[in-house]
Amino acid sequence: MPAAMFAIDLQHLSKSYGPVQAVQDVSLRVPPGELFGLIGPDGAGKTTLFRIMATLLLPDAGTAAVAGHDTRGGMRAIREVVGYMPGRFSLYPDLTVAENLDFFAALFRTTVRANYELIRDIYEPLAPFRDRRAGALSGGMKQKLALCCALIHKPEVLLLDEPTTGVDAVSRQEFWQVLGQLKARGITIMVSTPYMDEAARCERVALLQEGQVLRVDTPAALQAAYPVPLYAVRATGSLYPLLQSLRAYPATRTVYAFGEEAHLSLLPAATAAATTGTAEADLLGYLARAGHAQVQLRGLTPTIEDTFMELLGARPAATAPTAR
């Protein structure tokens, strides 16, 4: 078998469950050694794509090749070289931590000892609990163990479906350091995540929506794609009243909570219609009249999270229940 040009090569994939079109004409190519991210709202088709790549599901149309093998007919070969971590429930709750790991190693005719180096950083916090049943682990501890199990046979291609959901902030950092090490060993990684700080750490990301690829780009290009000036607004007191005032402001285009600040974009007409010289001065006047103290307004470089919401926020299903 010649070395594959692409570690993952998806061409015109479609898959529906009854009337639901889960994946619709998706084409993606990931070269060997790339760290590739899949982002998009729930129901965008990410898990279906993972299941097709892991040979658990056949597409209705199109082809999928992983590590040079077509998923049709290449099931055995693919399972040998792929590490797959499904979103949930991949462990045996009645086996202990150590038994789960041994089981997955044995499945691939290797041992935990042989590949311990790969999992050490993730496994170490679990080691004190090696004799605890996996079912009695906390949610985040289960995720870490599941990742160790997916890694223990030293796969060529890693498929990780929301591996850090439920994982705490410290462990998420360590986890991404480990992904960096795996990438340095030449392992191809496809990972989905709801955390936009993680999406920013991928080399490229595909933005999915309703089964289709909306866009494939580097995180930097995605950030740069934000179309209008963006502001950060803060004031004393709770953020919620500030959000409500900003939502009620006629010139507001979008407003989203971002930690202790609100991120705001204004309608283009706001500048033209400014009564006090600038759109910014108008806004500050409005907020002061609305009773907000010590309002700070500053221009902002958009993050990938801003772009994500910009590109996906327009559709009606995502309209906030508190209508503006």
């Binding site: 709202p41 930690g259 995502a318 906030a320």
Partner: protein, 257 residues
């Protein structure tokens, strides 16, 4: 925010949650180690901590689902060890895994939980209509919950947890795995509930969400290592944001393990 609390049938004077030396051991392992704190009515209380710190265990004790090994705690005026049934009627709980039935329709789920909480049929019917209207789910009333997008399921689960007008709602990672837009919509629901006087007790691993809480506690290895307003914590730890506060505290835990 506490002013609205008196409107609630389940409301009590003083703190709604009170824990004193609350402890849980599993064999020789101490999962929750003598935590003490109070939560006021209408407060949004963020209950943070690293994986395995003991958040879910503590929350399950406060919900009357798990008997404490030591210490005392009361919720809405009832003792968690001696009166767990009374507590279950006065709280809402959303577990780390959602609690709705995928193979029941939206309406059937609401009816089922209304029954569990002891509401009368007429009450359930009225509440169902109001709830569907508020969530914009009126057209999905006969859809199976399993067929709804995660974000809708989660909003529905939250509303169902509030069906019986509980004094407190306990939310264990309600936004885990939820996309940026849906997460923010969910927080709007929390703000609205808190403004009506409902006490919100919530765990999350999204540290931007810690900023949205009135007060935040951070558990480290079963103990409550910090408790203050987000602003107070940032000041105390000389940190720019809650992410930094969390990293400082939780990193400390790893070293002593």
């Amino acid at each position: 925010m506490s002013g609205a609390a008196t409107q609630l049938p389940g409301a009590v004077a003083g703190p709604v949650i009170r824990a004193e030396g609350l402890t849980k051991t599993f064999g020789a392992f101490t999962a929750v180690d003598a935590i003490s704190f109070e939560v006021a009515a209408g407060e949004i209380f963020g209950f943070l901590g690293a994986n395995g710190a003991g958040k879910t265990t503590a929350m399950r004790m406060l919900c009357g689902l798990l008997t404490p090994s030591g210490g005392v705690a009361s919720v809405a005026g009832f003792d968690v060890g001696r009166e767990p049934e009374a507590i279950k009627r006065r709280i809402g709980y959303m577990s780390q895994k959602f609690s709705l039935y995928d193979d029941l329709t939206v309406r059937e789920n609401i009816r089922f939980y209304g029954g569990v909480y002891g509401l009368r049929t007429t009450e359930i019917r009225a509440k169902t209509e109001a709830l569907l209207g508020r969530l914009g789910l009126a057209h999905e009333r006969d859809a199976l919950v399993g067929s709804l997008p995660l974000g809708w399921k989660q909003k529905l689960a939250f509303s169902v947890a509030l069906l019986h007008d509980p004094a407190v709602v306990f939310l264990d990672e309600p936004t885990g795995g939820v996309d940026p837009i849906t997460r923010r919509q969910f927080w709007d629901l929390l703000y609205e509930a808190a403004a009506r006087g409902v006490t919100v007790f919530i765990t999350t691993h999204y540290l931007d969400e810690a900023e949205y809480c009135d007060r935040v506690s951070i558990m480290v290895d079963g103990r409550m290592a910090a408790l203050d307003t987000p602003a107070g914590l940032k000041q105390q730890f000389g940190a720019a944001d809650m992410n930094e506060v969390f990293l400082q505290l939780a990193r400390g835990a790893k070293n002593t393990e």
